[in-house]
């Protein structure tokens, strides 16, 4: 038996359409886009253009130049934070952030005296708009950074309200949509200054190697300095970086096989229906919560309602998470245990330092997977 419940780490398996498209690209195109005019290079260039357009539209952005490809969400977050924050900048963030945000802010605190404060979620990981309103009234911040969906508890942040508040206060927002993009509808707000950092290989169902940063307006993108500089295929006679998007923030050869996979994955999501996929994951989440809550030794974390999607974290009384993880792995249930690179989120839930056992469902999981995984947890719990 092999049941994969680690989709918050990366989606598994990938849609066959994604795999086929990558194979086709590698066999028939596999060229550097936009640098030359021979047919294969032009074909690659058109592919890149079409995928950028398709992906921007997926996020509700009508100007594809505002989408910049990176290797993953962590690089996108680094690109924004390092390219946007100045010495002495003040950042408001939350206790539900991943280390992609926290370690970068900590490093910038050392390097540039960037100061940051956290809004703490409640014991379920819930952040209230009122907390942001109060913090933004008290102090002038240069940026708000918020995780749309916790990789630990699956809790969704009230993104619309937070972005609307920030727009009213004139504070830009960086949103980590690594977990939520492809899980729920993630639409770019039109008001204010907002950037989304996403990755392709989690719920968007592409392969590893591509992520990106997308802005809701040109001026915000223009305020971000590049993380790396180099060849862009444009303005080659100049030894200074172009100042226009996406070239300014996108130097070097792009990971085209991963980008092609992302294009095919977006086609897959659009043709399947994001709503249908979300409903499926919500049903599985509810089944997991129901099944696990019936086991006496299980403690569940999160809201256990519609604010929790795809991710179910729990602990087993009398057993470390590592021991539980090994036993589940031996039984063929694959999940992630520990702190999930988000120590503050675990402090919020009260599960630091041992962490939790995390089951995260994907579109290809079934009710049978959930039933079998819950059965294995029950067996492990009862053996103690």
């Amino acid at each position: 038996m092999e049941i994969y419940l680690d989709n918050a780490a990366t989606s598994h398996k990938k849609p066959k359409e994604v795999i086929e498209k990558v194979m086709e690209y590698l066999k028939e195109t596999s060229c550097n886009p936009g640098r030359s005019a021979y047919p294969l290079a032009v074909k690659a260039g058109r592919l890149l253009f079409d995928i950028r357009e398709k992906l921007a539209s997926f996020f509700g952005v009508d100007e594809p130049t505002r989408l910049v490809f990176t290797r993953n969400a962590t690089e996108a977050i680094n690109l924004f934070l390092r390219g946007f924050l100045s010495p002495g900048s003040k950042v408001l963030t939350t206790s539900m952030e991943h280390n992609a945000v926290m370690r970068t802010l900590s490093a910038l605190s050392e390097e540039r005296n960037v100061r940051f404060e956290k809004i703490w979620g409640d014991g379920r990981g819930v952040l209230e708009p009122a907390q942001f309103r109060e913090a933004l009234r008290k102090e002038k911040y240069d940026l708000v950074v918020v995780n749309h969906m916790s990789n630990v508890s699956g809790t969704l942040a009230p993104l619309e309200e937070i972005c609307s508040l920030c727009a009213d206060m004139g504070v830009p927002v960086l949103v980590d949509v690594a977990q939520s993009a492809g899980t729920v509808l993630v639409k770019m707000p039109s008001e204010g200054d907002v950037a989304f950092a996403f990755t392709g290989h989690k719920s968007l169902m592409a392969i590893q190697g591509v992520g990106g940063l997308i802005f809701n307006n040109d001026s915000l993108g223009k305020r971000v300095k590049p993380l790396i500089t180099g060849g862009t295929g444009s303005l080659s006679s100049k030894e200074v970086q172009p100042d226009f998007l996406p070239d300014k923030l996108e130097s070097g050869t792009l990971p085209m096989p991963a980008i092609v996979a992302l294009g095919a994955a977006i086609d897959f999501i659009n043709s399947t229906g994001l709503g249908k996929m979300e409903n499926h994951k919500r049903r599985l989440t509810r089944s997991l919560i129901k099944g696990l809550s019936e086991i006496e030794k299980v403690t569940l974390y999160g809201t256990k309602d519609e604010r929790q999607v795809g991710v179910v974290s729990f602990t087993l009384k009398g057993m470390t998470t590592s021991e539980a993880g090994d036993k589940l792995s031996s039984a063929g249930v694959y999940c992630r245990v520990g702190l999930h690179c988000a120590p503050s989120a675990h402090r919020t839930l009260g599960t630091y330092p041992d962490g939790t056992i995390r089951f995260s469902v994907g579109y290809f999981n079934t009710e049978e997977d959930v039933r079998l995984a819950v059965d294995e947890v029950r067996k492990i719990a009862e053996k103690r």
Binding site: P33, G34, A37, F49, S234, S236, P242, D247
Partner: protein, 83 residues
């Protein structure tokens, strides 16, 4: 003449863009409007920048420029093409 789809008897012009992204955006917009264009290597006599440019018939240039403006696609230059 490197152009195979366009006729030899025609006179051509070259559209240069700052970014390859705009080349493909322009190509799509012009083709959708029924204008025949070809993607070529940016001619060295027009620019020392590497990259690609669009070739089209002189007679289509006025309509093409107005379409580019309509679609907000920034253009660096439009020049006669010497085969």
């Amino acid at each position: 003449m490197r152009c195979v789809k366009l006729q030899k008897k025609d006179e051509f012009c070259v559209l240069l863009f700052s970014s390859v992204h705009y080349v493909f955006r322009a190509e799509k917009a012009l083709r959708e409007a029924g204008i025949r264009v070809e993607t070529i290597t940016a001619p060295r006599e027009l620019t020392s920048d590497c990259g690609v440019a669009l070739l089209l018939k002189q007679t289509d240039s006025e309509r093409a420029l107005s379409l580019l403006k309509e679609n907000k696609i920034p253009l660096v230059s439009v020049s006669p093409y010497k085969s």
